[in-house]
Amino acid sequence: MSSKITVGIFIALLFGLAVLNLAAPKRTFSANENRYLQQIPSLTLQTILDGKFTSGFDDFITDQFVFRDKWVGMKTGSELLLQKHASNGVYFANDGTLVEMFDSIDMERFNKNLDFIRAFQERVRDGLGLETQVMLVPTASMIYAHKLPAFAPEIDQRALLDQAAAIPDFIDVSPALAAHSDDYIFYATDHHWTSLGAFYAYNAWRGQNGLPARSFEDYDTEFLSSEFYGTTYSKASLYMVAPDIITAFYPKDTGVLNVDYNMGEKVTDSFYERSYLDVKDKYSVFLNANQSLVRIKTGHTNGKKLFLVKDSYANTFAQFLLSDYEEILVADLRFFKTSIYDFIAENGVTDIMILYNLKGFAADANVYFLTT
């Protein structure tokens, strides 16, 4: 009797799920996991022989499995029961924030990158009489260190910042960020800082330049999205976290913008590219993801022209700089392969800023292009 019950239950489970799976409608996108799901692969002699059909079919069954989100949630629950503290390079911080690990570094590259900056600073100072400010932004794993699990094997970002502080005109924003370490200054599901984090850093920058601090009253804010799931969410596959909110800060004093991507490839009047709000990669709403060169003309007529060399952290930061310059030229060295020196000389630049996040900077292989 007992045996037959076991057999009955198992057969019911096996066939029940098998039939449900056949019957269930197929989906194209999982909002929960924030990714596209595998569709049924094409069946040809070629795909059978090279194994593409079978491996694609395996993924298809897995991705389209009935009640997929419930299963994934069940796994998440059991991972939490097991008291796991991290997964796939992402910490589970004690308030539910998913923080990217910064647990290894190529010191040789980091030092070289600092040297490239020094060399660049000297060259533009000697040749063009321009100063270059440098901002390396510590990541969430330093600022949110108090939220991380015990013994988190972190690189000492403080030591890296101290080392970088030897560079002329280095702006250390870590005290400003640390002062707000319980605020929403980094996304809970992404490795970037929020507009609020960038705002505090911006005030630190103003302080260093002898400018008065700004207050929230100087901005109109707008919730661009309250459904943002970012990179750490995808990596950790821990699907019990609330989505992030992306906020825009519009300085009240900038006037009408003219934003030109890659020398006329696209011209618009907004700092934000809203089409990204409908897709997975919502952080790209700032400055239209990472473009080779963006030329922003503001309503100011102060004659100040900033050349900003940056990674994606600066895409959030730059919305605050709209208050300070008549024109901002934003270059991403991963794509911008023209001679930087010549470009600065030819474009009547008055100020230069280099802005990276510390982790990205330490691993970036393109800082070398500064010296071209």
Binding site: I5, F10, T62, W71, V72, L82, H85, D103, P153
Partner: protein, 470 residues
């Protein structure tokens, strides 16, 4: 295809069950054979021909051996079968290794053939060889029906990662077997236990080994190194024994009884005992078809030690075509000989704790040799274990790995002992008293493990089978 895939669980498996149990008894071997071919071809659409070739070769040789029984021709057929099987194995598994070794030794640059390893070739060639040998020795009857013989070779439960089922074990079952609800439900329990071992335990702890083995020397610590190799030891045990459980369970559902392949190896009190408990079917194979034919222990200690050495070098190389596996075999050969001539009698007198620690230490060092194809890397890792190469005793990384995996490690330790099995047996015995609630409750655990395993498979980023490379 692998058992721990949704594809197998919810498409292949229901289909084969349905067709198998609807079909008349006469057709059941044919059905298993055909489904097994699909199972294999799913991952190896081309090499399935190789398996069929090996099947036909041994079918024919078995008939020849039987026809010329007592004759020199029978022996010739036997030798021919062994040569062909070993040649298959040699070409597809060892050709790169042999060429690379020759190039290295003589400074030559003979191009390597770079043949991809056919899944399960080490298992099915050993099985087909066992058939011809069993028939030659009269341990089993020749199988006239090529479909039944093909079923034996291709039988999907044990096809790609064992246990290595010797022909004599299943010869009768191939012709006559009874599938019963009792066997089926036992099979279900066994299969789900294996699935859980593989998906929930092995995969989980495997990630820890993957992380630690990839660490830069500067991030290594003594504690971290031990954690890493312990993680590997758990991974390979739960991975492989889980696969064997699934194979044995599936076999039961179709009316087959395979022999056990693992018997809680990590509770052993000597290396000698460990190898009676680890991958039993391989040990038995080498004993039956190599060690005993060589004379075993019947011609004095000297010959016996020689025979042990031959068996263990072969065992090592069977596990993989690179030098570290040969060294691994020699390592165990030395330990086993040492125990045989000297240590064993002392180990038996010592407190169990000490002999167990000794055994586990030896096994863990063995896994280091096993885990690194590059012998130099293995040596370096060994030095970390003992604080060499200037690594600190402990660092944050190791403490983080330890705290993050603490519950999992406790579960793994308990899972390596007979305790869970004993508890479940006691519970099942209690369930026999016909109270419905107990019977139902005993199924709750099974269903729970099954569902959680499915959940991990639905969201699987890491699901390798270690013994696939063999």
């Amino acid at each position: 295809m692998v058992f721990s895939s949704l594809n197998f669980l919810f498409i292949f498996f229901p289909l084969v069950l349905l067709v198998y149990f609807i079909a008349p008894r006469k057709l059941r071997n044919l059905i298993l054979f055909l489904f097994s071919l699909v199972f294999y071809a799913w991952g190896e659409p081309i090499y399935v021909s190789l398996m069929l070739f090996s099947t036909v070769v041994d079918y024919v040789h078995g008939r020849l051996v039987d026809k010329y029984r007592g004759n020199k021709a029978a022996k010739a057929a036997l030798i021919s079968s062994v040569v062909i099987n070993l040649a298959l194995l040699g070409v597809f598994k060892y050709s790169d290794f042999v060429v690379a070794s020759i190039n290295g030794a003589f400074g030559l640059t003979i191009p390597q053939p770079n043949l991809p390893l056919p899944i399960g070739i080490s298992f099915y060639t050993f099985q087909t060889m066992s058939y011809t040998i069993d028939v030659y020795r009269g341990d089993a009857k020749m199988q006239k029906n090529i479909i039944s013989f093909g079923t034996y070779v291709a039988l999907f439960p044990q096809l790609i990662a064992g246990p290595i089922v010797r022909f004599q074990t299943v010869a009768e079952q191939l012709n006559e077997r009874r599938e019963t609800p009792d066997m089926f439900s036992e099979g279900i329990r066994r299969f789900i236990a294996g699935l859980g071992k593989k998906v929930l335990l092995a995969n989980n702890i495997g990630m820890l080994w993957t992380q630690i083995s990839a660490l830069a020397p500067g991030d290594m610590s003594v504690l971290g190194a031990w954690l890493g190799i312990v993680a590997f030891a758990f991974q390979i045990y739960f991975d492989f024994s889980g696969y064997s459980d699934m194979a044995i369970g599936l076999g039961k559902m179709f009316g087959f009884t395979f022999l056990e392949n693992f018997d809680y190896p990590y509770i052993s009190k000597s290396i000698t005992e460990f190898w009676r408990r680890w991958h039993i079917s391989l040990g038995t194979w080498f004993r039956e078809y190599v060690y005993i034919p060589l004379g075993g222990n019947r011609h004095g200690l000297g010959k016996q030690l020689r025979n042990i050495a031959i068996v263990w070098i072969l065992t090592g190389i069977w596990h993989g075509a690179s030098w570290n596996f040969a060294v691994w075999g020699v390592y165990y050969c030395i330990l086993l000989i040492f125990e045989k001539v000297f240590l064993l009698k002392y180990l038996e007198k010592m407190p169990a704790v000490i002999s167990r620690i000794y055994t586990l230490l030896c096994v863990l060092i063995g896994w280091v040799i096993f885990a690194f194809d590059d012998l130099g890397a293995g040596l370096r890792y060994t030095s970390y274990l003992f604080g060499g190469s200037g690594v600190p005793f402990v660092n944050d990384r190791a403490l983080f790995a330890l705290t993050s995996n603490m519950i999992m490690l406790i579960l793994l330790v308990i899972g390596s002992t007979p305790l869970p099995h004993r508890l479940s047996q006691r519970f099942l015995a209690a369930a026999q008293d016909k109270t419905f609630t107990r019977a139902a409750l005993s199924n709750v655990v099974i269903v729970f493990i099954f569902l959680i395993s499915v959940a991990y498979l639905v969201d699987s980023t890491y699901n390798p089978f270690l013994y696939f490379r063999f």
